[in-house]
Subunit: 294 residues, 2 copies
């Protein structure tokens, strides 16, 4: 079958640095890299989490100073203008300020402007000291090219998230990340970190491509793991998984309609039909009885 909704996806791995003096430079660098990806044919470009600000805020006040409104802030406006100019869909992470509340947010912009935002639900480490947990659920956005679901970093440690995006019909999941430490080894003999495997298996069990961009570099003692990758509906990486260090962009040609076909397992299985939602009580273990929450 020819591609019904062909896109060339790009996962942009780069090294934004925290500090107000760096913010404009981070956004400029993201624009350079998006333009490079567009020059190479990309039509869907995914940036890391907090791509405009860097990650390692020292205190809430510093996070507050870096944050900006969404969609009416400079970072979203810059990406939206570029998306319009180049005919792209772009996903990237922004420190969002809404009144006095802060969110770790991903924005999706397209050729016609801002499409939607997702606020990170599962906060990692000191993010809990600066940001509120997302209050927008797990939305799937309709776009010209198909339905796009968003998730952010630690979200993928909760397999419920990709599942919820997939059952809402996401044709692709854009995963914006600042992957850091996990229980060792950080990388296995294949050069992949556990987050790469979480991406692969979430993609595989949900029959949905995932475009996962992570940052690299160090910042105030924290090290980021790279390993950006793009998976096909089968879950395997298309092309290489990015190395742990160095700015690089991973490309893959995807057909966003492919996720709408049941995976060709056999004539009796379908991952979605086979689910037993009647048995998946998310509260199990919190109700006593013969259950033992740790």
């Amino acid at each position: 079958m020819p591609a019904i909704s062909p896109v060339t996806a790009a996962a942009v791995q780069f090294d934004p640095q925290v500090g107000l003096e760096n913010k404009d430079g981070n956004v400029r660098r993201s624009i350079e890299l998006i333009n490079e990806a567009a020059d190479r044919g990309a039509t869907l470009v995914v940036l890391p989490e907090l791509a405009g600000t860097g990650y390692g805020f020292a205190c809430r006040e510093e996070a507050y100073a870096h944050a900006e409104p969404v969609p009416d802030g400079p970072t979203t406006r810059a990406w939206a203008a570029l998306a319009r100019e180049r005919g792209l869909h772009i996903v990237g992470g922004v420190a969002e300020r809404d009144g006095v509340r802060l969110f770790d947010t991903a924005v999706l912009v397209g050729p016609d402007g801002v499409i939607g935002t997702y606020r990170k639900t599962h906060l990692w480490n000191r993010e809990k000291l600066y940001f509120e947990p997302g209050d927008l659920g797990f939305p799937v956005f309709h776009t010209r090219i198909g339905r796009i679901g968003l998730l952010i970093c630690w979200d993928i440690w909760f397999p419920e998230v990709a599942r919820l995006l997939a059952v809402q019909g996401a044709d692709v999941i854009c995963s914006v990340n600042n992957w850091v430490w996990t229980p060792p080894p950080l990388f296995d003999e294949a050069g992949r970190c556990m987050a790469a495997y979480l991406t692969m298996t979430a993609s595989h069990v949900n029959n949905v491509p995932i475009v996962a961009a992570n940052r690299v570099g160090e910042e105030r003692g924290g090290r980021f793991l790279g390993c950006s990758l793009i998976t096909g509906t089968g879950g395997w990486p298309i092309g290489s998984v990015a190395p742990a260090e160095g700015e690089t962009t991973v490309y893959a040609d995807l057909d966003l309609a492919a996720s709408r076909s049941a995976p060709i397992w056999n004539d009796l299985n379908d991952l979605v039909r086979d689910r037993r939602t009647d048995l998946y009580d998310p509260l199990l273990g919190y109700r006593g009885g013969d259950a033992f929450p740790r």
Copy 2:
């Protein structure tokens, strides 16, 4: 901290063959291999799915002829006698007959006799033509050595299953398998199949070791993938993942109490506490509105 509940786990990868004429030999071979594992110090031994019967039934009548009652059938009795004699816990797959209904079942036996059974919930391919979907939920069994959860093969394609076992307090998950074809490649450059990654990530996100035994060999045109492995709470394999071919047993020393500690991510995260069960509606996507079931 010294091990509170030390066990040496063994995942026995072997090659049972379907056919009534082979059934006694399959069980005898399983007993030889369990004894070998016990001689090498194993105290928790996991066998593949349908270890006593082989897998590739040609028709329901053949499946029915291979099946036996549980726990009062010869295979469970043989394993229970051995568990008593050697002071072991053993998990293995049995074709179960209950009246006229058939189940693809895992039995757990220990030094004091039969502890419990689990009936496979998510049936794969032609299993749907012979077996009923399991009707026992996802039980976690109390044993001398800790709490043991069971799952069978295609179950792990549904991340809900390991999650449900973990939130009920499973200290270890025993995974009995007849892993076969998945969307290619069957194996990656690291020599691992996707089922190995599903095992690793299920283990990682739930902070629970998984002892996964798969069979090998060919049977009536079907090929099995080996790749038996044992993961620690961090999700990484302990020692080697078994090769795709050849009988072999994978060993690992586990502390079954380790899963009761939160993983040492940092002082603000805990995988269980961080779950947002209020947002994990398993029926999402089946309710209309802005949802698009495929």
